[in-house]
Amino acid sequence: MTFIDWVSAPVNWVFAILGAVVLFSGFRVVTSRNIIHAALYLVGALAGTAALFLMLSAEFVAWVLVLVYIGAVIVLFLFGIMITRAPTGLDEGLSSDQRVLPALLASGVFVMMSWASIDAFGTQLVGSVGEPVPTEIIGDSLFGRFVIPFEVVSFVLLAALIGGITLARRDLSPAEEEERSAV
């Protein structure tokens, strides 16, 4: 497929716009000097990603992304930022001074992965935007073939829950321990 062909398909324009949004947001996440802005830019990146998922017929996953990721995780992040009393304004010290080596490494990673991808999948086409994958299939799969990973992941969540509570609990003074256990 040539570039002309690619450009002439409208679905690719949508992709280009969404891709630009995602990339820009991602870029701002890692370079923003305002920590709240960085978190919010991540929201943008995630939203763009959800839209891309919709394009790829992954409707369920897209909405899960929005609900869980943006709805809970980012909120959690904001909570974390607040609790750690990060300066909410401009903060020059958010990024390290040594940026050359990480940039090189990141570029290396990008180059290597894209080269591998293009080299391997060259002109593979994704199917056109069509019917979304039925949630029913995902459900069957989740409780069928992948029921054990499903259970394990639920354990992980449980562990995270308990662990989070335990870790984040304020250390009680002996007097308060007494009081609490007496009750």
């Binding site: 080596l101 490494l105 290396g108 990673v109 290597m112």
Partner: protein, 674 residues
């Protein structure tokens, strides 16, 4: 190597029995004293007489065998030898130990055991309340055993073993009172003088033994008798060397110097060892080797006669000026040994041995009597004595018996000395004969002097001396008997019924001795000897009998020039000391120099080398080399570590960066390269 059977075959010509069971078990005499030695050392201290009882018992048992064998020999002769092969020396020479039983050895067995027993009993009383009595009897028993080993020796090697043994015992007993250094010096003098002479003995023994291939006396006797050429070749030199050895033990001039000093030992020791037995070992050796001298080494005999004569007269003179009563007897002993040696050298095998026999009894008697006197007045010197016959009658009368015997006036000494004079006359040794007669005069003179100074006159000391206890006087009486009557055993021409006479007893040897025996008394010589002796007593009486205020005044007779020379003992002692000092000084300095510069230098040099090498190894090899390598290695590891360590900065992002970089590299590697 001459077979024993051959020897016994020869012996049949001499009509001797083999001694039966007694001869076969005679070895017990050699062993018992050593057993006594050990027992005394183990238990002696606990006994009443501190072990003396054990010593006496051992010799008493021995005396049984000795007496039986003596009687058997008198009644038909005993000739036997028992040996046990111990080993080989070289390719042919056999080393044997055992005992020989023939006329000569039986006599010596009897002598040693009898006189020894008497002296031991005497010593029980004499040494009472003295120091180290148990050690005294132990060493004395040791001596007795060694002496018996010597006289019972069937070969030269065992004889030498016994010889050295008595030398050791002599050393131990002379230096018995070692708290006084002079006594120790006397012991050393005796031992060293003997040792110088022993060189001759050992060399002579080797020479003789190697020449005929055996040290066995029977073999030597046989070889000498048969005129074996191998023996004849070495006979003169060997005989001379053996005589040299005998000179030391029997105190012949000039080796006599140790005997007077040996009087430092307790009196019983002087009585037994230095009068009757040990000093007679040299005479015994000459008698044992008599065939060699009689049939082969006649030239040596001239030397022996000269030395023997010088000894008998020259040393006899020394007794005239001695103040110590024991020294008088000591010089007398040397003089009498000279008589014996001269007699044997002149061919008087029987004469010499007979005089040895009689001399043993009367000289031991005289010594024991002197001991009794010394015990009473607590001094050895005649200047502290005088008039003792009133206080000590038994001692006095037994002394008189001994003195008369020694002087040759009647009694046993007369007969034995007469036999010697007869031998000399027979051999035509006129000069020697006249000197011997003069010697008889001197002997009587000094004995008279000793007797008159000691027992006559009046006692000048404090208090009252008293007679010795019975345990000491009884032995005196016992010894007086043979001193008096032993002469009858060898009256020329007389043979006792059933017992025979001394000559016959002594002749029981493997080969005929070929010595000459007188068939009748030579009245002329007998008279001459007797006259000389009586003259000596008379003149002595004239000079020394009168009493004066002090003993020294009584003893004031002086012959100018002679007496001072005698007091200096002919300067022989000084000569010996000078020789020793001469050798000692430069030699000791040379040895010291060698030790310090040569030997020490060598050792120090080697030590220095080793030390230098050690330093090299340590500094260079170990410190710089090995340590350097290891230090370098560790420094390298350390340096590398401190560089690599910086990686562990604790900063997670750095770890993450490394992680990513590593992953990249790996992926590139796996995808594009491999």
């Amino acid at each position: 190597m001459v077979e024993m059977s051959q020897l016994l075959f020869a012996a049949e010509e001499i009509h001797a029995g083999d001694g039966g069971w007694w001869a076969d078990t005679a070895g017990i005499m050699l062993v018992l004293p050593f057993v006594a030695f050990l027992l005394i050392l183990a238990f002696g201290k606990k006994l009443k007489y501190k072990g003396g009882e054990i010593a006496v018992a051992a010799l008493a048992i021995n005396l049984v065998w000795a007496t039986v064998l003596l009687l058997m020999n008198a009644n038909g002769g005993v000739l036997d030898q028992t040996t046990f092969e111990i080993g080989h020396i070289g390719s042919g020479l056999v080393f044997e130990l055992g005992w020989v039983v023939d006329g000569l050895s039986i006599l010596m067995f009897f002598l040693v055991n009898f006189v020894g027993l008497v002296v031991f009993v005497y010593a029980l009383g004499y040494m009472k309340d003295d120091v180290r009595v148990d050690w005294f009897f132990a060493a004395f028993s040791l001596f007795a055993g060694a002496m018996l080993v010597l006289v019972g020796a069937p070969n030269l090697i065992q004889l030498i073993i016994g010889w050295e043994g008595v030398g050791l015992a002599s050393y131990l007993l002379i230096g018995f009172y070692w708290e006084d250094l002079d006594n120790v010096r006397a012991g050393n003098k005796a031992f060293l003088t003997n040792k110088v002479a022993d060189v001759g003995l050992i060399l002579g023994a080797i020479l003789v033994g190697v020449s005929i291939g055996s040290w066995d006396f029977g073999a030597i006797d046989f070889a000498a008798f048969e005129g074996a050429p191998e023996l004849a070749a070495v006979a003169t030199v060997g005989g001379l060397l053996l005589f040299f050895g005998a000179m030391g033990k029997s105190a012949q001039f000039p080796f006599h110097i140790w005997l007077p000093d040996a009087m430092a030992g307790p009196t019983p020791v002087s009585a037994l060892m230095h009068a009757a037995t040990m000093v007679t070992a040299g005479i015994y050796l000459m008698a044992r080797m008599f065939p060699l001298f009689e049939y082969m080494a006649q030239n040596v005999r001239i030397v022996m006669i000269v030395i023997g004569t010088v000894t008998l007269f020259g040393v006899g003179l020394l007794a005239i000026v001695a103040d110590d009563i024991k020294k008088v007897l000591a010089y007398s002993t040397v003089s009498q040994l000279g008589y014996m040696m001269t007699a044997i050298a002149a061919g008087g095998y029987t004469a010499g041995m007979f005089h040895l026999f009689t001399h043993a009894s009367f000289k031991a008697l005289l010594f024991l009597g002197a001991g009794s006197v010394i015990h009473a007045v607590h001094s050895n010197n005649m200047s502290d004595m005088g008039g003792l016959r009133k206080f000590m009658p038994t001692t006095f009368w037994t002394w008189v018996v001994g003195a008369l015997a020694l002087s040759g006036i009647g009694l046993s000494g007369f007969w034995s000395k007469d036999e010697i004079l007869a031998t000399m006359g027979e051999q035509g040794l006129t000069v020697v004969l006249w000197i011997s007669i003069a010697g008889a005069f001197v002997t009587a003179f000094y004995m008279g002097r000793a007797t008159f100074l000691t027992f006559f006159g009046s006692y000048k000391g404090d208090g009252q001396p008293h007679e010795s206890p019975r345990i000491m006087t009884v032995p005196l009486v016992i010894l007086a008997v043979p001193a008096a009557v032993a002469g009858v055993l060898n009256i020329p021409g007389l043979s006792l019924p059933r017992l025979g006479n001394f000559t016959e007893w002594l002749a029981v040897r493997l080969v005929p001795m070929g010595d000459h025996h007188a068939e009748a008394i030579n009245l002329g010589l007998a008279a001459a000897g007797l006259a000389a002796a009586v003259l000596g007593v008379v003149i002595g009486w004239l000079i020394y009998y009168p009493d004066k205020d002090t003993q020294l005044q009584r003893d004031s007779f002086e012959i100018p020039v002679l007496f001072p020379l005698l007091r200096k003992k002919y300067y022989i002692d000084d000569l010996a000391l000078g020789i020793v000092a001469l050798i000692k000084g430069p030699l000791a300095r040379l040895v010291d120099w060698t030790s310090t510069y040569v030997i020490d230098g060598l050792v120090n040099g080697v030590a220095g080398l080793v030390k230098g090498f050690g330093v090299f190894v340590y500094d260079t090899l170990d410190q710089r080399g090995v340590d350097g390598v290891f230090n370098g290695l560790s420094a390298a590891a350390d340096g590398a570590g401190s560089v690599v360590r910086k990686w562990q900065s604790g900063r997670v992002q750095q770890y993450a960066a490394s992680f990513v970089a590593g992953a990249l590299i790996l992926v590139v590697l796996f995808v594009f390269v491999i």
